[in-house]
Assembly symmetry: C2
Homo-oligomer: 236 residues x 2
């Protein structure tokens, strides 16, 4: 049975890394002591080791051990044996490129399907959708494909931002960008605001946190989705 | 001799389409009556015909005729014979995909090199750089390559936005995204604020408009560039 927590952001303004999610994560990872961390999305500023250490400090508060996937000679085997998996944020183009280059995209999909508890934040959440095509990130590297895990039957836009009506900036709003996506793609897109996450258990996909999320469907008026709504209907 | 106007935006807040640039464009296109317009970047909301008509209305104020590239059976020949070319904004992933699919990327590069006056705004400006990898757009379609015209020896970030220090949003700032680009790429990036443009004449690349632009180079502190600075040194 699929078992995922898919978070808009790792960190809330003024908060510590993952703090707001720790009570949820304690339950989510209750059957494993060690979690494999995928640091691939981080494009610099911090090494994979440093990023893993940062995650380890956060998870130590709920007594979980963290091991970075980058230290394994055989990352496929590491994921297959993992008791739990966390993919952190950064740049989605880089993350997807590295998942393909390390030949672990299919394995990650398989272990999620078979029930390994998964946590994603930001870029690590983007990849749970059908494609990475509604990311906010810059195309700093050319991935072999935009196709991602498809663990949920729609796409995500993490860190969703409402239009700033005071702005004099003429660049596209997030809503306009997602509308552009729907000129060529039928996949629904969920704009997940910071502080929201999805709790996926089997076929159920519940919106969690205090905020509504914004749902965009091709040729339809966007709608606000309330917390505790089951989004499984988007797969029908 | 290369002859380009490369604008951050087509429209200023509160202004009409291209209005702020018309005096410049009247001189830029002084030797041609008809300009070929490339509408490929527009992902919907407006047909190519409607987009071309919008451009035609703006250019009628300086007595120029506009013909959309999309109506030509042989777009390569159309570009080769063009007296002037304008590529409008929209989505850069779409624009680059269509330039490759219509097999005109190389032709466009050739005619720009040989001196056909070119105007780009937003996505149409992005493509004058080495690659489209510093676009702000969403990857709504998968292009065959991120490589673009290389008419200038650096990349652009049009609609450049300074960080909002009041914001509680945890998504990356534009500056952070460009820094991520430089984790993997050595190409300099010029953040071109709305209202700024580059005037390229032969090897000279002058910053125009009233604003400074922000220059990002790998492993260097970003710097503000004053109007009238010649950016040709970035190619050395």
């Amino acid at each position: 049975m699929k078992n995922l927590i898919i978070a808009s952001t790792s960190t809330l303004h003024g908060g510590e890394y993952l703090d707001y999610l720790l009570p949820t994560l304690e339950n989510h990872f209750k059957n494993c002591d060690t979690i494999i961390f995928i640091p691939y999305a981080r494009p610099g500023g911090m090494t994979h080791d440093e990023y893993t250490e940062r995650v380890a400090i956060a998870f130590s508060k709920i007594n979980k051990k963290i091991i970075g996937l980058h230290i394994f000679k055989n990352p496929i085997e590491a994921l297959e044996k993992a008791g739990g998996i966390f993919t952190g944020g950064g740049n989605t183009f880089l993350l997807v490129t590295q998942l393909y280059e390390n030949d672990v995209m299919q394995t990650l999909s398989n272990v999620i399907e078979s029930g390994t508890p998964y946590l994603g934040s930001s870029a690590g959440s983007n990849i749970t959708g059908i494609s990475m095509q509604t990311t906010n990130d810059m195309p700093i590297i050319y991935p072999p494909s935009f196709k991602t895990l498809g663990a949920i039957p729609f796409n995500l836009n993490p860190h969703y931002l409402d239009p700033n009506l005071q702005s004099k900036h003429m660049g596209e709003t997030r809503e306009t960008r997602i509308k552009e996506f729907h000129a060529f793609n039928t996949t629904p897109v969920l704009g997940l605001r910071e502080g929201s996450w999805l709790d996926v258990k089997g076929e159920k996909i519940l919106l969690k946190g205090n905020l509504t999320a914004r749902l965009f469907r091709q040729n339809q008026v966007p709608e606000e989705i309330n917390p505790e709504t089951d989004l499984a209907f988007l797969g029908n």
